[in-house]
Symmetry: C2
Subunit: 337 residues, 2 copies
């Protein structure tokens, strides 16, 4: 069993902990938290050992009746792999600790790409991170693009990718982020950081990304154009993408013509928290004209990287190949609608 | 003086009436309205003769103390040109009346393209509608695309256009349209109707458009990619577009990094109703990589077609060339920030 610690029990961390606990070859050593809030209380109720991300604040947890198993250094020492799901830029501050403890680490996309020898998407470059001491799971949007582009690259060759990422303003709990009643080019500069981030996975890819932020919290929506080397039919592209386990083809006939409908559907089918691990590609949006492929996909910012983090753990231990890991992860989680 | 009637005194009609009244070579014969609401009352206060779009409902106006100058047929008879700003699809029902009165008409983009011999954008194909009995001013989004693409076509040649139109859910008064807290592919099918609409102006253009609807009311935002025949620098493209009077280059240094900031600015400078007649292209978004041009532009759905309608009136009368008409219109309105 791979012993896994989760440093940072927030939006991503809580989901990664549950996903790790569901795997046949992993166990959760514990999770860490900086503040004694309701997330910390929920972690205890779920049976996770709770470690203090800031050892000086252990008293604050105990004052609220939340038992602390120990300081973060103990969690790191006892883990084969730590998944660092601390806020963007904070992972860097734990780097020395991970190295001192000789514990492998999967950082998140909020960290600079230079934090690890490689960035990671299981479908795209799992083997780059095999048996490494660190990797970096790219952000939700970059993961979504990489999953869609990789099979297109393999099947048809890709000349260029142009994607407009229509981003939710914040997660449902981030009520102070805005915007309200506005549409923002965000950033105004082209390309957005997603293009170089995707190139960290696919260095030779010619890609331009544009970011837009709107008043919504549920999912991101990508409007993608891919210039292919060959000229497949829309039907062939649909078949190609439907063979991908982390891509779901959504039909308008199913009534899922918005992000809210997708969320409603996965909640109805019993997925806790409404997580959507898959890229949701609208089948009816797939159009190919003179080798120029267009489509829409919805990306759930809170959960699409969760299976990727599970695979990253296995890659770091070097004990499983990419396809076996992805299949194991997806079966344990129930990926595929 | 060209005698102009405005059939349909709503969002576009009220703006067209004011724009016509501001021209040195035009006069407003009157405007028509179906319901005796606050728009009708405002028309009277502004001094426009008010005609009953539905003669059977004249009593309803008089019951509210709103004087009616006559039935719509009288307005059409007295006009050299009627601008039909009735709701989408309704213009068709007045077609026989316009023909019986031998009155030229400018329809709006909500009508089917077959309603007139040509569709119209002043910068793109003014002369097609010269001395004609009918034309059709394309919708706000198509107008915005045509204005941006035409100079690019002339200067560099265009291989293909791919545009994602991130559309406001409704105008500020359309509070029942939604969406709330969602991002909709709208339509899911690719291309959206804007691509064939643009081809009604530029028949040889290879263009794909995708529509997305979001919870905002202020403006549309276009994310545009244009594959050019040549490879100009971003600076050259900025210079080209800044020479266009109906395109405004917005700099982030000005603080205008959202649609709301643009609206605030034009209201502050004294523009009634916050109208933005110009395409607002963010200068910092203009990027050219290997002849692939990317940029963002904001389009004001309520007003960008207003100067186009004024030019369409002149084209129909055949009394002025395109450039003189556009200059006259823009000077009278104050187009150009």
């Amino acid at each position: 069993m791979i012993a896994v610690g989760v440093n940072g029990y927030g939006t991503i961390g809580k989901r990664v902990a549950d996903a790790v606990a569901a795997q046949p070859d992993m166990r959760v050593v514990g999770v860490s938290k900086r503040s004694p809030n309701h997330d910390a209380r929920a972690a205890i109720e779920l049976g996770y050992g709770l470690y203090a991300a800031d050892p000086d604040r252990t008293d604050a947890f105990e004052a609220r009746g939340i038992p602390v198993a120990g300081p973060i250094s103990e969690l790191v020492e006892q883990s084969d792999v730590v998944v660092d799901t601390t806020p963007a830029g904070v992972g860097e501050t734990y780097r020395d600790l991970y190295e001192e403890c000789d514990t492998a680490v999967a950082y998140q996309g909020g960290e600079d790409a230079t934090i690890a020898p490689h960035s990671f998407c299981a479908r795209t470059n799992y083997s780059d991170s095999l048996d490494s001491n660190a990797t970096r799971v790219v952000s939700c949007n970059t993961t979504g693009l990489a999953r869609a582009v990789t099979p297109l690259l393999e099947a048809y060759g890709v000349r260029s990718v142009d994607a407009t990422l229509i981003r939710r303003g914040g997660d449902p709990t981030q009520t102070d982020r805005g915007p309200i009643n506005d549409i923002l080019p965000d950033p105004v500069d082209v390309p957005s950081h997603h293009a170089p981030d995707l190139q960290a996975l696919l260095p030779d890819l010619d890609v331009t990304t544009k970011g837009v932020t709107v008043p919504a919290t549920l999912m991101h929506l990508h409007s993608v154009t891919v210039s292919l080397d060959t000229d497949p039919t829309a039907r062939e592209v649909k078949e190609l993408l439907s063979d991908e386990n982390r891509i779901e083809l959504i039909t308008t006939a199913s009534g899922c013509d918005s992000c809210a409908e997708i969320q409603e559907y996965v909640l109805d089918t019993g997925r806790r928290r409404g997580d959507v691990w898959e890229n949701c590609v609208w089948a009816d949006s797939i159009d190919v004209t003179d080798g120029r492929l267009s489509f829409f996909q919805a990306i759930h910012q809170q959960s699409d990287v969760v299976p990727e983090n599970v695979d990253a753990i296995r890659a770091l231990t070097g004990e499983m190949d990419a396809e076996t890991s992805r299949t194991t992860t997806d079966e344990a989680l129930g990926v595929g609608m």
